[in-house]
Structure formats: structure tokens, C-alpha cells
């Protein structure tokens, strides 16, 4: 089996493991052994910091290293400064906080080194809170690589926060906010207590129009259930999304792959899409059954970057059919499906 984007195939032939591992050792979950990363995004004033602070104070948030774009937002006042580095802060409950410097990757590498050497407490996850106007795409790109930080950390969840009061209006006028929602796995509707039902419905509709697959969670009193912080799940393979183009041509749809695919053809289809439309692929993520492979394969693409596929030991849920979620600009479902159909038919 050809193993695109990895260097494992040849060594697997030289030193075959009991379970063939052309994509490396099969993993229990998509992130494998990498440190999980949660990206929290959302427009200015949407209530990101409130949510993050509540999470850090909860038992589930213990051991979270926090990277913030703007020092001060997170409430350093009640933090306990340890270790005298200029940027690593240990919050009262044992969470870490880093004020991001110019280079996110440098900050993360230093954090990893500190954790490895025991200079900071064990790190269960990293939470990156973006600034309100930030496009989360470059952050996601940092992790889609088998070199550098992508080898050590993996984005488990992109959580976008939209407020119920004027979120719908914001999404209508602010392209940054639309981008944040388009890239999210889960969207939190905040400030529900300040909005009426019509406003909530309007914001739900606006979110669904941009990202129909995203799960919507309504925050109650600035809090969301612990499960909303868990790793994202893929939509079911039978998810019916319109695939219609929305404002600025952003579309989001699911392609089902009910039968095992021939990996070389599937990889060629991904390569063709990346080569011709990479700039327009915001995210492509999925799980496919591959001929000759025991477990399903996780596929992840952010723009031109294809993460080395990860084989899972088993399907994460009862749905054993492959599916690929595509979020892109000007990408039409039928045309993208035709690329896969054509190559898989060869």
C-alpha cells in the first residue's frame, strides 16, 4: 500500500509489525499521543473570556495551559505567578497561562519543554484564546504538519463563541466573525439570558447557514456543559447538508464514502484538490475506510497542508461509513464529489 504524506510505508515493509502499520501505529483517537489543543475563537465581546475562565475553574479544566493573545483579558490579577518566566503564569487552580508572544509555535515549544522537564505542572491540554478579530485559520495551519508543533500537539476542538443579542447582525456584517464560525467544530451561543427567543433563533439560523455541521451549544449563565469542551466529533455520514454557497462563497458539506476506498486513488483526489484549490480549502476533515487497512483513517487538510493520515484502532462511533467534511470557499459539493468519483472509479 502506498502511504502518501508519510515515510512509514517502506520501514513497515522492512520491519513489519504484527498489525500492518503503513501509517504508523494505529491510534485510539485522531490526536494519537499528541497534546490536545482547544482553539476558542469569537468576535469582540462575544464572551470568550468568561467561558474560558469558567472552564479553568471547573474540574475538567484542571491542567489546562492557556495561551492568550492579549495579556490582561484572562484575569491575571488573581493568578499565582510561579517560576519567574516572563510569560508562564500558574493560575490558582493549577492552570497555566501564557501571554502569546509574536510566534505561537515558539510559545508552544517552550511550554512543551517546560512541561517535559517538570518546570510547570503536567499539561492535560492547551487552550488558545484568539483575539476577537483573529482569523483562526493560521493557527490551525500551525498544527497541520508532521514537523514542528504538529508532531507534538493536535487541535481537538475549534470552539466559536457568538452572542445571542447581536450575533446574527455581527455575522451579517463582519467577515472575520463568519470565518470564525465557518471553521468551528462547535459554536457556543452566549448571553442567551440577555436575548429573546427571536434573537436566539436568528443567531442559530445565521450559524447554520455558514456551518450546518457545527453543533450549537447554548451557554447558561456563562457556562456550557463539560461535554462541550470534549474533542469534536465528525458529523454522521448521512448528514444532509445543502452544500450551497453562502455569502463570500463559503460552503460546507459532507461527502459520504460508504465503502472502503483504494488509498492511492483517494490520495490522488486529495492531492488534485489541494493543488488546484488549496487556497480555497478552509478545512477538510474526515474518516475513511481504506482497502487493506484494519482501522479507519483520519484525513485532515487545512488549505494547502495535508496532515499525515492517522489510522485509528476502531471507528469512534457506531457509524462505520466513511465521510469527509469540506469547508471551503467557492467549492461546490457536486464538483468536489466528482473529483473523488472519477479517481476512485479508475
Amino acid at each position: 500500500m502506498s502511504s502518501r504524506w508519510t515515510s512509514e510505508a517502506l520501514t513497515d515493509r522492512l520491519f513489519p509489525a504484527a498489525r500492518p502499520a503503513p501509517f504508523g501505529r494505529a491510534q485510539k483517537r485522531p490526536r494519537g499521543a499528541r497534546v490536545p489543543v482547544i482553539v476558542v475563537t469569537g468576535f469582540l465581546g462575544a464572551g470568550k473570556t468568561t467561558l474560558v475562565k469558567r472552564f479553568l475553574a471547573s474540574p475538567e479544566g484542571t491542567g489546562t495551559a492557556v495561551i492568550v493573545n492579549e495579556f490582561g483579558e484572562i484575569g491575571i490579577d488573581d493568578a499565582l505567578l510561579r517560576g519567574a518566566t516572563d510569560k508562564t503564569v500558574l493560575l490558582g487552580n493549577g492552570c497555566l497561562c501564557c501571554a502569546s508572544r509574536s510566534d505561537l509555535e515558539t510559545t508552544l515549544q517552550e511550554l512543551l519543554a517546560d512541561a517535559r522537564l517538570g518546570r510547570v505542572p503536567s499539561m492535560a491540554r492547551v487552550l488558545i484564546e484568539t483575539s476577537g478579530l483573529a482569523d483562526p485559520l493560521p493557527i490551525l495551519q500551525s498544527f497541520v504538519s508532521d514537523r514542528g508543533i504538529g508532531r507534538e500537539m493536535a487541535v481537538d476542538l475549534v470552539l466559536a463563541v457568538v452572542d445571542a443579542v447581536d450575533g446574527a447582525a455581527m455575522l451579517a456584517v463582519a467577515p472575520e466573525a463568519r470565518r470564525q464560525v465557518a471553521l468551528a467544530d462547535r459554536v457556543v451561543v452566549s448571553k442567551r439570558d440577555l436575548a429573546d427567543t427571536d434573537a436566539e433563533n436568528a443567531v442559530r439560523a445565521a450559524i447554520a447557514a455558514i456551518n450546518p455541521q457545527a453543533e450549537i451549544v447554548v451557554a447558561q449563565g456563562g457556562e456550557i456543559p463539560a461535554s462541550a469542551w470534549a474533542a469534536s466529533e465528525l458529523p454522521r455520514s448521512d448528514f444532509l447538508a445543502s452544500g450551497a454557497l453562502h455569502s463570500e462563497g463559503v460552503s460546507s458539506f459532507v461527502l459520504p464514502f460508504p465503502r472502503p476506498v483504494a488509498w492511492p486513488a483517494f490520495a490522488q483526489a486529495i492531492d488534485a484538490l489541494v493543488a488546484l484549490r488549496g487556497a480555497d480549502i478552509l478545512r477538510m476533515k474526515g474518516l475513511v475506510a481504506v482497502e487493506g487497512l484494519a482501522g479507519p483513517l483520519v484525513v485532515q487538510v487545512v488549505r494547502h497542508l495535508v496532515h499525515p493520515p492517522v489510522e485509528l484502532t476502531d471507528w469512534p462511533d457506531g457509524d462505520r461509513a466513511g465521510r469527509l467534511v469540506v469547508i471551503g470557499r467557492g467549492l461546490e459539493r457536486d464538483r468536489v464529489a466528482a473529483v473523488f468519483d472519477a479517481l476512485l472509479a479508475l
Binding site: 513497515d12 509489525a17 504508523g24 519567574a84
Partner: protein, 410 residues
């Protein structure tokens, strides 16, 4: 400003602590860890103590979150140590080594542990002698033969540290264990026709057997590490006449003390460990090596497992470097993997590596317990690790910390 490492809290990545047991104040464990199943469905972890006064301890780990000590036995002499043990069925074999040559009892004792609360001695195999310290390590997996690193009454070495060699003991009748074969590195015994192997420059430990692993995949092979003499693959198809068929040594320029060799049969690979034996990593680097043994007569080292910087751990207290690994022991109660290696590194805790690409092993997890109360070294000194077939990880401190039960999360 330098940020000092935290040793007052555990440091973990992809390992979760399920429980910790201090073994009633006798938490110094050597390198014998083995699990038996009782007829009433309990799972007992047997641990060999690193030094006197305790001999071995049995811990009920049926519920890994609530381990319960069921028995702890004492050694008859303060100069003895029962560093190694192995369980096969209802028989527990324990190695006895003495501080000085000529001291007794030195050898191996077999126990019936069908009632784990009351181990009953079945037999004692005497390995004492004027030039012997007894048995340092043993391997007992097929219920028929014990493979051991031992001295003998009739074995005199040129050098003090060359006293233990490879012995095969027939225990098919457990009440009458007897030797059926032996092999020693040529030149180590007085009377050999070749000169003694050259000593390593500086600190040399000797050329003697350490781990003596035999697997059902290749019952005609013994994988024997010989401390400063390197690793030998022995053909034991004729147990009375073991013959070396492969050899690999790394010292000099490395610092000897080759310890354990674990072959990964399907893959044509072997994992070999060196033991760090000096405090403050004075013998750095002591590594875990990945060897290509597709041709067993020509083992080729292809990588080492990536360890954290020596500067970060050397001065935490005690030793830092490689030592024991989980050995895929061919027991039904032992986990087997040919892509994950778990090892103990003293102050750097227990660490796990993915070797699915053996040219580029990757660290996938670690657990470094906090410094145990009363530690004479000022840091944890994880000494050995065993993984049961459920994937539960057991690791032990060399001095006082006792048993740490962990879950792998990678």
C-alpha cells in the same frame, strides 16, 4: 532566571495514575515483577525487593485502583537480596544473591503460591560457592526451565565482576531443580584457553550475565546481556551446549552494563538496554537501543529511544538513565507489543516510546512520580516496569516509593 524543575508533584503525559501503594514502608523494589491468577479469580502482582530485609511482596491488583497487599516475606540474612523473580502457573521462582562471595544461602528458591497469602517453599537450588554470590536474575516462562544469571560452586572467574554466567535449570520436577546447561563468555573463567575479555577503561563492572530471555517464538534461542561484554544471541537447541550465534557490543566507547535484550520476532528487531549505575548520570549516556536483527549473526543498531536532556535530570538526585523495560514476557498475564516500548529511567520516571518507525522512535508518554517521602536520593528512582495483558502499567521505586499503578492513554 533558571526555572527549577518541580519534583514535589508528579509530571505526566499520556499516563494516568490509578493508585499508589507504599508496600507498608518497604517500598524499595528490584527488578522482579510478575502476575499470577488465583483459582478464585484474583490477580496477584509479585514484586522482588531490591534489598534486605524483605524478600518478596504479593499485591492483589484485581482492581488496579485499589491494590491490596496480601503477603510480604523476609529474607533470612541481611546481606541477601532477592532482586529477581518470576511466576509460572502456581510456582514462584526467586533469585537470591549475597553481598560477598562464599556467603549463603545463595541460589534460587521455588514456592508454591496457589494460596498467595501463604507461599510454601518447594525447593532450593544452591548456587553458592567460594567464588559465587548466587543468582542475580532469572527467567521462568515455560514451566520447565529457569534461565538465570548465576554463579556456581565450581566456577571461578579471573575478575571479580565476571562471576555470574548463563545457567539453564530443569525444574520440570520442581522439587528437584538441576542444571542442564551453561555458557559463559570465553576467557572469563579461570582455566579458559583464551585470555579474559579486555576491561573497559574507567569504571568497569565485569563481563557477566544479566538478563537471560527465552521466548516460545524461538525456543532454541536465548537472548543474554552480558554487562560489559555486550549482548549475545545463543543457540540453545542443545541445552547442554549453548553456542553463540550473534553478538553486539557498544563499549567502549560507551560505558558498558548491557542489561536486557528483548527481540521483536515478527519485525526482525531487538530492543537492548544499558543500565545506568552511577548517581548524577556520571555514566551518561546509558541508552535503549533499537537493533536490526533480521540477520541474527549481524545485529545492527539503527536508533536509540529519545530521552530528555541529561542536564535536566542528572542532578535531581540518584540515577538518571536507562534500566529496565517491559519485556513482552510470554505469560498470559503479560502485555505484548512490538510497536510500544516502556522503560524506567530512575529520576526521569517511566517513559513510553512508539517504535512503529524504528528509525525514528517517538516518545508518546511519561510519568514521573513526585519524590517519595523519605527518599534517600531526593528524587524518584523508578527501577522496573511491567504491563499486564489489560494494559495496566505497574512501576516501582528502587528505594522507598513502592508501587505505582498507571493507565496508558496513548
Amino acid at each position: 532566571m533558571t526555572v527549577m524543575p518541580r519534583t514535589d508533584i508528579p509530571v505526566a503525559r499520556n499516563f494516568k495514575l490509578l493508585s499508589h501503594h507504599e508496600l507498608d514502608g518497604f517500598g524499595g523494589i528490584g527488578e522482579g515483577m510478575s502476575i499470577s491468577l488465583t483459582k478464585d479469580g484474583r490477580r496477584i502482582l509479585w514484586l522482588a525487593h531490591e534489598s534486605a530485609p524483605k524478600n518478596f511482596t504479593g499485591v492483589d491488583v484485581t482492581d488496579p485502583k485499589h491494590p491490596k497487599m496480601v503477603v510480604q516475606t523476609a529474607l533470612p540474612q541481611p546481606y541477601m537480596r532477592s532482586n529477581s523473580l518470576e511466576v509460572c502457573g502456581d510456582i514462584l521462582a526467586v533469585a537470591y544473591q549475597c553481598k560477598e562471595k562464599g556467603q549463603t544461602p545463595a541460589g534460587m528458591e521455588l514456592f508454591d503460591i496457589s494460596v498467595p497469602e501463604s507461599p510454601r517453599s518447594i525447593a532450593f537450588f544452591d548456587a553458592s560457592g567460594p567464588h559465587s554470590r548466587g543468582v542475580h536474575q532469572l527467567w521462568f516462562c515455560d514451566g520447565e526451565y529457569v534461565h538465570m544469571a548465576a554463579g556456581a560452586a565450581d566456577f571461578e572467574s579471573h575478575y571479580k565482576g565476571d562471576d555470574q554466567f548463563y545457567r539453564i535449570i530443569d525444574v520440570r520436577n520442581p522439587s528437584k531443580p538441576h542444571e542442564v546447561g551453561r555458557w559463559w563468555m570465553p576467557g572469563t573463567r579461570v582455566g579458559d584457553s583464551v585470555p579474559p575479555p579486555e576491561r573497559l577503561p574507567g569504571k568497569h563492572a565485569g563481563c557477566r550475565a544479566h538478563n537471560t530471555n527465552v521466548y516460545p517464538d524461538r525456543p532454541d534461542r536465548a537472548y543474554v546481556c552480558y554487562v560489559d561484554g555486550g549482548m549475545f544471541i545463543l543457540d540453545i537447541s542443545d541445552k547442554a551446549n549453548p553456542k553463540p550465534v550473534g553478538h553486539w557490543a557498544n563499549s567502549p566507547p560507551y560505558h558498558g552494563f548491557m542489561h536486557t535484550a528483548v527481540p521483536l520476532f515478527d519485525r526482525g528487531l531487538m530492543i537492548v538496554t544499558d543500565e545506568s549505575t552511577s548517581d548524577a548520570a556520571a555514566d551518561w549516556p546509558k541508552l535503549i537501543w533499537v537493533l536490526d536483527i533480521r540477520d541474527e549473526s549481524r545485529p545492527v543498531p539503527i536508533s536509540t529511544l529519545p530521552l530528555p536532556p541529561v542536564e535536566a535530570f542528572a542532578n535531581r538526585g540518584g540515577r538518571y538513565g536507562s534500566h529496565n523495560i517491559h519485556e513482552n514476557t510470554p505469560h498470559p498475564t503479560s502485555w505484548k507489543s512490538d510497536t510500544i516500548v516502556l522503560g524506567t529511567f530512575y529520576s526521569a520516571g517511566v517513559r513510553a516510546f512508539d517504535i512503529s518507525n524504528p528509525y525514528q522512535p517517538q516518545e508518546v508518554g511519561y510519568y514521573i512520580p513526585e519524590t517519595p517521602a523519605g527518599s534517600p536520593k531526593g528524587a524518584i528512582q523508578l527501577n522496573d516496569v511491567f504491563v499486564d495483558e489489560r494494559g495496566i502499567v505497574y512501576t516501582v521505586d528502587r528505594f522507598v516509593g513502592g508501587l505505582y499503578v498507571l493507565e496508558m492513554d496513548f
